[in-house]
């Protein structure tokens, strides 16, 4: 009798997690709509040369995952900027770059492109905050940061 009880308990202990995992996988298979889109980040430094910048991006609404970061438009910021790899697959990132050269952009320029995975139907919204922008002498300069949603 005890053996039968042990066998039944063992069977339950094996079958229940298996079924639970299967149902979890079934639930996962019914995934919401997923699409990928770039988010272009622009910085307007006016008539000052832009030599360094740092900004922070967070998802204010919707569900996103950061899947990649690309450099900017100008040659000075063409290379991929600094960011924490731990930010990938999250909805929050800090991005920064600098250039010690003399050929620097002025005015409004695209400084980076963030590639996003957008989950669900809701259109995401973003919170973008410029931490610092500096000129070639490493002096802070006023600048305006903005983003444009890409297709």
């Amino acid at each position: 009798m005890k053996e039968i009880t042990a066998i039944i308990l063992m069977s339950i202990s094996i079958i229940v997690p298996v079924l639970a995992q299967q149902s979890e996988q079934d639930n996962e298979s019914v995934q919401p709509k997923v699409r990928f889109a770039p988010l272009h980040i622009y910085l307007d430094s006016g008539n000052k040369s832009l030599a360094a910048y740092q900004f922070e991006l967070k998802a204010a609404a919707g569900q996103i995952k950061i899947v990649g970061v690309e450099g900017g438009q100008h040659a000075a910021f063409k290379e991929a900027p600094y960011y924490d790899p731990a930010a990938l697959a999250k909805d929050h990132i800090i991005i920064a770059a600098f250039n010690t050269g003399s050929e620097l952009p002025k005015g409004r320029t695209r400084i980076a492109t963030i590639h996003l995975q957008i989950i669900g139907e809701a259109e995401p919204d973003y919170e973008l905050k410029l931490t610092v922008a500096a000129d070639a002498d490493a002096k802070e300069i006023p600048a305006k940061i903005s983003f444009e949603k890409g297709e």
């Binding site: 005890k2 066998i7 360094a52 910048y53 740092q54 600094y82 790899p85 731990a86 600098f98 490493a138």
Partner: protein
């Protein structure tokens, strides 16, 4: 009434005749008596033989149950671990860096300007190498200023990268790269 029915007839006389009973008693009568000591010895022997087996069986049974329970626990534990989940991305740097060390401009904040300023110092030092020290190399001269972040004896682009990565870390409170 058939023979078959008669066989199961309840009224059938099942009494045994006294003669037959006496004959049977004579035939199967105990020819000799077994002393009680022998009986006891046989019973003791049987106990010695059977009880250890019984206990062995019980111990084995218990061990089997424990094995089953342990196997079940291991299986449950294995299922509780989500082995399909990929580990999260990690930073490539494992060097411990104190927040104070990477605050190059000492303004109490670690940002990209610290890396930028360090990079400018390195470039500036390289361009004025001879002025810094005729003996020490550029990197070695900057080490003296405490900017050798990774502790490799040189202040170079690797240190700049460490400072920049500190600036963009999501969990800056940890102060660790």
């Amino acid at each position: 009434m058939t023979n078959k029915n008669r066989h199961f007839d309840e009224d059938l006389d099942l009494k045994v005749s006294p003669k037959l009973s006496e004959d049977l008693n004579t035939l199967f009568k105990q020819q000799f008596s077994v002393p009680p000591e022998v009986d006891r010895a046989i019973i003791d022997k049987a106990h010695q033989h059977l009880i250890p087996k019984h206990w062995r069986h019980r111990i084995f049974h218990h061990i089997s149950l424990w094995r089953v329970a342990a196997a079940a626990a291991v299986i449950i534990f294995a299922f509780s671990l989500n082995l399909t989940q990929e580990p999260g991305p990690r930073t490539s740097r494992t060097v411990l860096v104190k927040a104070q060390a990477v605050d190059i401009d000492e303004n109490g904040r670690v940002d990209i300007l610290d890396a930028f300023k360090l990079a400018r110092h390195i470039e500036s030092a390289e361009s004025t190498k001879t002025k810094l020290s005729p003996v020490l190399s550029t990197g070695q001269a900057l080490v003296k200023q405490g900017w050798d972040i990774n502790g490799d004896g040189l202040v170079d682009r690797n240190d700049v990268d460490l400072v920049a990565l500190s600036a963009v870390r999501l969990d800056k409170n940890k102060g660790v790269l």
